[in-house]
Subunit: 246 residues, 2 copies
Amino acid sequence: MRNIRLKISYDGTRYQGWQRQKAVESTIQGKLEHILTKMTGEEVEIHGSGRTDAGVHARAQVANFKTECRMTTEEIKEYVNAYLPLDIAVTEVKEASERFHSRLNVVGKRYIYRVWNSTEHNVFERNYVYPFVGNLNLEKMRKAAEILMGTHDFQSFCGRKMKKKSTVRTIRKLDIEQIGHEIRFTYEGDGFLFHMIRILTGTLLEIGTGEIQLEALPGILESKTRENAGRTAPACGLILDEVFYD
Amino acid sequence: MRNIRLKISYDGTRYQGWQRQKAVESTIQGKLEHILTKMTGEEVEIHGSGRTDAGVHARAQVANFKTECRMTTEEIKEYVNAYLPLDIAVTEVKEASERFHSRLNVVGKRYIYRVWNSTEHNVFERNYVYPFVGNLNLEKMRKAAEILMGTHDFQSFCGRKMKKKSTVRTIRKLDIEQIGHEIRFTYEGDGFLFHMIRILTGTLLEIGTGEIQLEALPGILESKTRENAGRTAPACGLILDEVFYD
């Protein structure tokens, strides 16, 4: 049986996230499975590298599916893109080894969170940034980022109680760049908990405004209590930028 | 009386173009005048550098208005942006000389027309490109662009019968670049007729596909007959990029 690997871009604005739900049409996975099932005549199930929440975007989500279908990878790409709506695109279709699994084989991910820090709207990218008005102390935010980097128990930055599974993760990179009116957060790590990047970003913004003291951050981490961290930044500013495999 | 000059960006998708109509809320001019009238308590009338059609975008439209209001340019910018919807932004507010008029003083304009030449959707910029699937002979299109450059009577490329006014215009620049899947047309000239850039682009695309022969182009220009030129390319791919003044 063939194992096909896809790279997918999407604007998450209109969707209930990646993962299939009963209302098939409102998720990215649902849209893709619907088209692939029609294309192959098989009951196709696709595996994504992970879920993205409702409203979150992806530049390069990775997914795979098994099929007996004989179409070339180029033909599959043309077919799927012809049926996808304009806010989803398959950007790459490749043959994968039989053992490849988009989620189980992930060794890391990169997410970008874009904050638009101006009263002047970002007209052309307004759906991909979080408009945040207010003065931000970037120096303090970057010091906070240094504290957050590395391996920690991120329970305080997890939007869901995790009773059995580990909440220890490693952040390999946490860059905060200023590009004109934009403050761009780049996160790279082995994996991220539910809402983790949005809570990290929300907390960093509150450190930037002074609502949370930089000095309080180590204690917030150690407390393993969600309520001690900052707000969850909105989905619209978040994009899954890259998924890494060995 | 003060004369205030504005630079404005907008995503034209939701609007009936620049020019005020009865339904005030559906034009860019209408939106701006509504806010400025509220701000100043005066009946503000703004003059744009020219109209843009329904669905056409602008990176830097220029407009001016007269007022007795005492707010600083920075305060005006903050006020207007606070009331504008997310798809319109005022990016610059300046004091202009008493004689400055956004339309009468224009010495040139630059428009960009973006064609997306792939079956793979441009997910994040889908509202700003014209998706056009088909093979394009760029070499022929560039030769056609050379023929179109310079000073000509562009009656064949005007979407409206002009009985009294001159239809002679000068195109100073007509570049066709390939940037990945995008074919980007850059037009600079002293002024452009109604639908002129969209008809020029539609004609260049038909020369690219071979529907119109390159050799026929001089005759199309000379015929001064709209029906001989190509189709009008859709509004969504067009953006007013810059307005030039002395």
